[in-house]
Amino acid sequence: MSVKPLSRLLDTYVYAERTPTTWCPGCGIGIVLQSMIRAIDDLGLDTNRIAVVSGVGCAAHATSYLKFDAFHGLHGRVPAHATGIKLAKPELTVLCLLGDGDGLAIGGNQFIHAARRNIDLTAILFNNFTYGRTGGQFSPTTPHGAWAQTAPFGMMERNFDVCELSRAAGATYVARSIAYNGNLTTRLIRNAIKHKGFSVVEVLLQCTEIYGRYNKQGDGAAMLTWQREHAVTPGKAAGLSPEQLEGRFVIGELHRSEAPEFCEEYDRLIARVQGKAR
């Protein structure tokens, strides 16, 4: 697939007059957003039939720059807002732009129950391992031992594996990518949107000014390189022992299954009840 120039995509999908964005130099959110926009463009979706929903955090600000219907709501309640939108208008493509704190700490309950229902939402989880907006406190995905403003002696808690969690909660499409691999991110988001059901694409990305700086990981380029060096494909991972996989992460499509989709089930229920009424 040929890669379209960014300038044409910007005209169609982004409010240029609202830039510069709120994000720091070197941040990975914009890179992931470009992948998302390319996925939408590849699918030829009507921009009037897309809703983006976000809560609070760095990634949440993305909704403000996109030429879609946008819902910039509560911290953690994104899957709930999106559930209301999708049930009210199932014909819309609804994207949840989640952060690791927003989606998995304060919003953990909303996240797992949206997955359990298998409602047709696409959750893109921007995982930067930290609360960037508030200055670098630890999140549910901060690696063990990493430094954070509220983990000055190193992160003591265990962290979530976002994809394992999603799969266990009932998500029917689960994938992981890295900001470094834009083409993979685009492909996975494209597949996630096409998939009927609750789909999760976790994207590991660099927070250069907070997480990266405190943990001495170098600049944006260095952090992107780190992502590439620590990512393995599912095929390669299958041949590695747990010890060899330690500190690495598997990228690509990790899970896909078929299950009844909640909105379709509800529409069937309405048809059945109304059929009886007549």
Binding site: R49, V56, A70, H72, G84, K89
Partner: protein, 381 residues
């Protein structure tokens, strides 16, 4: 539902019927006594009307999903009780700031905490000030099963008209009470829809107001009119714009003016035997039933007593309540709490001669007519 028919109904059932009649087609809730029946009825009834019920994982999710559905253009409602309403408060702030119509039924139970499931009116101040920041809110208090229906319809209409969260302040007594009511036929129920844009999509600004009190037209998602439903301080398109004092002030004054400039259209006060009254009982909700009896008993004993019933509790029209009380020498405020509306009545009478007395019960039992009568007559010859 048996619209257009005379029937025996519970208050919570009448509330559910009111939601359907008002055009609510999305209802999300989390189970809690004494509100649960509303969701149970709607889970059965909504699909036949093309509507959807969803039992959410918690109350934050329940009201949060209602706000999503409302933004998409569907009238939405939730129901809960004190502890659940407490969890919903973040969403009340979102509805106020983002100007999303929604109705929240609070079938009040005694607090604080999980308290008990007994009747109370202890969440009146929570309804007004439960979420953070200055914010607009409307609250209506039904006194009967029929009013559970009528005021649910009115709550939906007001939320649509003004793009604000509206509470129905029911309680365990009226919610579980059974009375014979005649529901109107569906086609006879007057419905109000939110203002929607008529301009071209490229000329649309979701939060543009030309006068502070103007309710901006609200576009449904999926119609090509883009704006950002926005929780934070924002410009006319919903783009966050913190740090601009004049714009912040204009936004907050707009949110307030939507209601405070239109009190006459919003505030419904019922007056009974007030023309010559020198003793005024100010009551609302189920307590107003006992107050009505007390006033009739007092009249039979030669007292010039009357009842002012607050059908709309919030906004509280301080000036109008003061005018109605006028030169009365005594005001009695019975409540199933320790005196929440009493303070508002004191404010309304601060330049008047009336002595304002409280009658309070917080034992999970209703205030009786005799208790109110005793206070009406206390110290009088």
């Amino acid at each position: 539902m048996n619209f257009g028919q005379r029937q025996l109904m519970m208050g919570n059932e009448a509330c559910a019927a009111g939601a359907i009649a008002a055009g609510v087609r999305y209802f999300a809730a989390y189970p809690i006594t004494p509100a649960t029946e509303i969701g149970e009825v709607l889970s059965r009834e909504l699909p036949a009307y093309g509507g959807k019920f969803i039992q959410m994982e918690d109350e934050m999710g329940a009201l949060g999903s209602c706000l999503g559905a409302s933004a998409a253009g569907v009238k939405a409602m939730t129901a809960s009780s004190g502890p659940g309403i407490t969890l919903m408060q973040e969403n009340v702030g979102l509805a106020a700031m983002a100007e999303i119509p929604v109705v929240i039924v609070n079938v009040q139970r005694a607090g604080p905490g999980t308290g008990t499931i007994d009747q109370t009116q202890a969440d009146v101040m929570q309804a007004r000030w439960g979420t953070n920041g200055d914010h607009p809110v409307i609250a209506l208090a039904p006194s009967s099963v029929k009013e559970c229906f009528d005021l649910t319809v009115r709550a939906v209409n007001l939320s649509e008209r003004y793009r604000v969260p509206v509470y129905l302040l029911s309680d365990a007594q009226v919610g579980h009470m059974r009375e014979v009511v005649t529901l109107p036929r569906l086609e006879d129920v007057r419905l109000v829809d939110r203002p929607r844009p008529t301009c071209r999509p490229d000329e649309y600004h979701g939060y543009e107001f030309r006068t502070p009190d103007e309710v901006p037209p609200m576009a449904d998602f999926g119609t090509g009119y883009h704006y950002i439903v926005q929780y934070s301080v924002h410009d006319r398109d919903g783009f966050p714009n913190p740090g601009k004092p004049a714009e912040l002030a204009a936004l907050l004054q707009h949110l307030d003016a939507k209601l405070s400039w239109h009190l006459d259209a919003i505030v419904d006060l019922e007056e009974l035997l007030l023309d010559d009254a020198d003793i005024v009982v100010v009551a609302y909700g189920t307590t107003a039933r006992a107050a009505r009896d007390a006033v009739v008993m007092a009249r039979a004993r030669g007292r010039r007593a009357g009842l002012l019933r607050l059908v709309t509790v919030w906004p509280f029209d301080t000036a109008r309540v003061g005018r109605i009380i006028g030169d009365a020498r005594r005001v009695v405020v019975p409540e199933m709490n320790l005196g929440q509306i009493h303070g508002e009545v004191v404010k309304a009478t601060k330049d008047r001669r009336a002595q304002v007395l409280k009658v309070n019960r917080v034992d999970g039992c209703a205030v009786t007519p005799q208790e109110i009568l005793d206070t009406i007559e206390r110290g009088l010859g």
